[in-house]
């Protein structure tokens, strides 16, 4: 395997809703109000090899976006560390850290909310590279034009505002903004979920072209398995804050190991599955405020045993390059 670009080790993020004064008083007086803690990401470790695309898949509330934000440096982890190019971000000098933060850029889901509506496109794209001294202010205009051309936008539109563009074009502006600081690692958080099918195809193609041209590495976060299957080299499946399975894309889609992955793959609507009989997984996704004990998936799992209700399964290697967190694998 090639060198590791980015690694997260035992990364954890808790969101705590702390008590206000009245609640603290009530607690002192003996009511059973407690702080609410959401374990958004719970002891996650994974690695992204250089030049690859790792797909991070999960349903709402599984912590995939929180993980992506921690990787991009937008959120601070509660515990654990993000290791970029072999060096933990916590141990970096301020200058190194700034460099690392610049090299990891993020592309967001909502192309309407992630662009400042009161800035012109040339400023949205050009502000960061000028500020960071990558481009002289005098050359900014040319640089913006070049970046826009790279993502398939007409540079003549650089004096326009975001609302004058369609959804797909706006997503391209977001991509151009990320590319403008010459990143090496892109975190795409549901970057194509809000787009129409034909526009989705354009943006997926753009991601693949950019990968080849600029030698980029991606963490591609999505709930859409068919997109992830198409674009990723490796897939990481998350459920309620934990990684349940990781594998090379082909292996995972060919023979999913974890019962949750199997259920997920079964549910994915496919073009070639006509008039199918749906056999859905039972049950709801539990609330991350109060996750079930043991294996998070056990209340919905058809194979759950007593052990699953008590003991948290460890994510372990089942075959080389492939990990799964399920007690069932111990039997064999």
């Amino acid at each position: 395997m090639s060198e590791t670009m980015l690694e997260v080790r035992n990364l954890t993020k808790n969101f705590v809703k702390s008590l206000d004064l009245a609640e603290r008083l009530a607690q002192k007086l003996g009511s059973n109000i407690r702080e609410e803690v959401v374990h958004a990401v719970d002891d996650v470790s994974m690695a992204v090899p250089k030049g690859s695309v790792v797909g991070l898949v999960g349903e709402s509330g599984c912590g995939k976006s929180t993980l992506g934000r921690m990787v991009a440096g937008i959120l601070t982890p509660t515990a654990g560390e993000v290791v970029y190019k072999g060096k933990p971000t916590g141990a970096m000098s301020p200058a190194e850290r700034k460099q690392a933060t610049l090299q990891i850029q993020m592309i967001f889901q909502d192309p309407f909310a992630s662009l400042n509506p009161r800035m012109r496109v040339k400023d949205i794209i050009g502000e960061a590279p000028v500020l960071h001294g990558m481009v002289a202010a005098a050359d900014a205009d040319d640089y913006v034009s070049e970046t826009m051309r790279r993502v398939g936008l007409d540079p003549d539109y650089r004096r326009r505002y975001p609302h004058q563009f369609s959804g797909g074009q706006r997503q391209r502006i977001g991509i151009a903004r990320a590319l403008a600081v010459k990143p090496e690692f892109l975190v795409c958080d549901e970057a194509i979920a809000a787009l129409d099918v034909s526009i989705q195809a354009q943006v997926i193609n753009l991601f693949m072209d950019l990968r080849a041209e600029l030698d980029l590495t991606y963490l591609f976060i999505s709930h859409d398995l068919s997109v992830v299957e198409h674009i990723s080299d490796r897939v990481v499946i998350m459920y309620l804050g934990r990684v349940v399975e990781t594998a090379a894309t082909e292996e995972l889609f060919h023979a999913p190991n974890h019962p949750y992955t199997q259920a997920l793959l079964n549910e994915v609507p496919r073009l070639d599955a006509r008039g199918r009989d749906y056999k859905p997984v039972e049950g709801e996704i539990p609330s991350p405020l109060d996750p079930p004990p043991g294996c998070h998936f056990h209340p919905r799992c058809p194979h759950a045993t007593e052990r699953c209700r008590v003991e948290v399964p460890k994510l372990r290697e089942i075959v080389p390059g492939r990990t799964s967190a399920c007690h069932l694998n111990d039997g064999t």
Binding site: A201, M208, R276
Partner: protein, 335 residues
């Protein structure tokens, strides 16, 4: 027009036109849409944003608000034309014989009323004489039918106490209350997670098979339609550009737009291969291209496309609106 089968279809839409008269001009959101839905049949209505698929649904059920207006065509529901029907008669049908499910269940549910209140209200609107106990029993049964656990207790809940998937089930249960003959579902699973979407699709499928209810499933997701529908209508720029049995259309698309759409779906392509890109963007409804609306983006377009293509039926039960359809595909399907 399509031939009348031995049993007349539940719904027949003929040349439906719904236009929006805005200050900026007339937006022809639906411009000559025709299709039929048989009893117990699932019709998939597919298109991208702005293709007019939702407005078609709203037009059928008579929920188009000004400045929009149905300006032409017929909507024959069990042989009766709903276009121009007086509001009182329409109200009798709506929620009773024809029901609608929306993308956001909170559009259907009143946040300040308990679920039982809302459900009983729906029943009493059409069966004013039904005793309260019977109405509640029916509400409970409907919740049970859509797979809500412990329906007796859940009847007493407020909508915010349900999760997104459960809320959508409540909305579906309400649509089912009066055992309608036709349900129009407008992107009902788009906001839901994959496993929850599977559960809803399972319920929808069961419903059509068991009760003979017809279903119009409006979505942008071809893969969902593939698993669920019997027939498919592909819409573009306010028109149905291609329709037919699901297998034929998806395996042997005739219209260049359908082909482009299928080519751009990731699951349909080899992993890592380049997806087909339909060049350009969907046109604005206010400035529709002359003639065929797809022609500016179409690889086959030529001078003939300046004239709006008529509906052709290259093989029985398949319709296409194109000057240059890929007919070799249709013949392949017929063979």
């Amino acid at each position: 027009m399509t031939a009348q089968g031995p049993s007349s279809p539940t719904l027949e839409v003929r040349d439906l036109k719904t236009h929006f008269f805005t200050k900026a001009g007339v937006a022809k959101a639906v411009d000559g849409v025709s299709f039929t839905v048989g009893r117990g049949e699932v019709m998939g209505l597919v298109g991208e944003s702005g293709s007019g698929k939702s407005v078609t649904g709203f037009s059928i059920i008579g929920l188009v608000d000004p400045p929009g207006r149905v300006v032409g065509g017929e909507v024959l529901f069990q042989g009766k034309n709903l276009v121009g029907l007086d509001p009182a008669a329409m109200r009798k049908l709506r929620g009773n014989r024809i029901a609608m499910i929306f993308q956001d269940p909170m559009m259907t549910l009143n946040p300040v009323l308990r679920v039982d209140t809302q459900m009983v209200e729906t029943i009493h609107a059409h069966h004013p004489d039904m005793p309260m106990a019977d109405a509640l029993a029916r509400a409970r049964d409907a919740l049970g039918e859509v797979g809500i656990p412990s329906p007796d207790e859940r009847l007493k809940s407020y909508p915010h106490q349900f999760s997104g998937g459960m809320r959508q089930r409540v909305a579906i249960a309400i649509a089912l209350l009066n055992k309608p003959d036709l349900i129009i579902a407008d992107e009902p699973t788009t906001a839901l997670d994959v496993t929850i979407q599977g559960q809803i699709l399972y319920q929808a499928q069961k419903l059509c098979r068991e009760t003979g209810t017809s279903l119009i499933w409006i979505t942008h997701d071809l893969a969902v339609i593939a698993g669920l529908a019997d027939h498919i209508c592909v819409m573009y720029g306010g028109r149905v550009v291609e329709q037919g049995p699901i297998d034929d259309v998806l395996d042997h698309p005739v219209h260049p737009y359908t082909r482009g759409l299928l080519g751009s779906v990731p699951g349909h392509n080899k992993r890592g291969s380049k997806l087909y890109q339909i060049p350009g963007m969907a046109p604005s409804l206010l400035h529709m291209p002359e003639g065929c609306a797809f022609s500016p983006r179409c690889p086959r377009a030529d001078a003939a496309c300046a004239v709006a293509p008529m509906i052709a039926e290259p093989v029985p039960d398949r319709q296409v609106r194109c000057q240059h359809p890929h007919l070799e595909e249709a013949e392949g399907a017929g063979a």
